[in-house]
Amino acid sequence: MKTKSLIESLLFISGKPLSVGKLSEILKKDKQEIETAAEELMAELNTEAKGIHIQKAGSSYQMATNPQNTYIVKDFIKSEQTGELTKPSLETLTIIAYRGPITKAELEQIRGVNCSLIIRNLLIKGLVEAKEDREKMATTYNTTFDFLRFLGLNRVEELPDYEKLNSNENLKKLLEKDSAGQAEEAKTNEE
């Protein structure tokens, strides 16, 4: 009973196929028990009324949407890709343009809200790209070449008042202050 629920959680979170062997290793249960539970779970889920099914390939299991619902999944993905940008998205895009390469943490300090979903959205639309910054040990974001070309620019430096806006004093102060504050908070958290 419990095994079935655990398998369901793991298949859900992993997003890729998990073999009976791997499941048995994580759950510390023998393969026979895993397989029985997985088959039971599969029988339970793979009905017309369920939105999530389990697929089996070889000895691996994977979660997927009910094939009958595929059309709606496609609609959803399309809806993610189209549409004008919301005000928060535009704001984020602009900050990345003027201040890129910029980390998610810096972006959030400037905007004062969590930006995970917005960044994801900008990435999907090809307006922004991510890069690993080894020095900062963090992912940084930049506007894409495609987007600059769309604006009729060759480089971000050609954005109006780039010099002045890029090196704004308040911006500098805020980022300095917050990195100091965060370091302190991190310290107290460790205690």
Binding site: M63, V73, G126, L151, L171, L174
Partner: protein, 244 residues
């Protein structure tokens, strides 16, 4: 006796007040608030860890406490309650959420976190899709607005700092006023004040002077008139056993 207050680390003025009341094993009533008023003020005066930007909040509550205390001390003195929120119910409500936050802390401690899927199952193919009406000029506008909005956050602590400095200046003024007279009744002192802020500043100045052993304060019992006496040089040498 002199108050030696041993408290757990407190967060904010209501937290401090709640701890003082609980330490005295009192219920939350106007009377109890009046009883811990001086302890609160003394704590405020001695505590060096209160950040400047938080001090203003502590002083607001101090003002409310002093208002209660003054009203009980001098019923004939009609002090208007400017904000109409009584500290007693505010503190009662605060306590409820304070207790609830302890429960939440325990829940978080159990680490029964939930996990959503981080990524979409189906990889979305990136299709370049720019916002059609966006121009470079418009981006400049948006970014300028963002920068403008930062002003508040960058200058926040400074504003509070200015507020606090002005309070300190007023304390200094009142200090010099008191030191020019040998004996002063507290009621007289209060009558010369116009606002709640001035009342609290008066109290704080008194405390400061008591600490410096410039004056001594005599009060027969909790609700009696407070008499302020300037100490001579020799008297200052004597350790003041009963400052308040």
């Amino acid at each position: 006796m002199s108050y030696k207050i041993k408290l757990e680390q407190f967060e904010g003025p209501l937290d401090l007040l709640l701890q003082l009341i609980e330490q005295e094993k009192l219920d939350i009533t106007e009377l109890s608030l009046a009883k811990v008023t001086f302890q609160y003020l003394e704590y405020l005066n001695n505590e060096k860890d209160i950040a400047t930007e938080e001090l203003a909040d502590f002083l607001v509550i101090a003002a409310k406490l002093l208002l209660i205390k003054s009203r009980l001390l001098l019923p004939q003195l009609e002090i208007e309650d400017e904000e109409g929120i009584d500290l007693e119910s505010q503190l009662k409500i605060y306590r409820e959420f304070y207790e609830a936050s302890k429960v939440l802390t325990k829940m978080i401690g159990k680490k029964k976190f939930l996990f959503p899927r981080e990524r979409m199952v189906i990889r979305i193919e990136k299709i370049f899709n720019p916002p059609k009406t966006l121009t470079a000029e418009k981006m400049k506008e948006i970014f300028s607005q963002v920068l403008h909005g930062l002003e508040v956050w960058v200058n926040l602590p400074q504003e509070v700092l200015i507020k606090t400095i002005s309070i300190k200046e007023r304390i200094a003024n009142i200090q010099s006023m008191i030191s020019q007279q040998a004996t002063l009744r507290f009621g007289e002192l209060l009558r010369s004040t116009n606002s709640k802020t001035e009342i609290i500043v008066t109290f704080l100045a008194l405390l400061e002077l008591v600490k410096q052993r410039t004056i001594t304060v005599v009060q027969e019992s909790v609700f009696d008139e407070i008499v302020i006496k300037r100490l001579s040089g020799e008297e200052r040498e004597v350790i003041n056993e009963n400052p308040l």
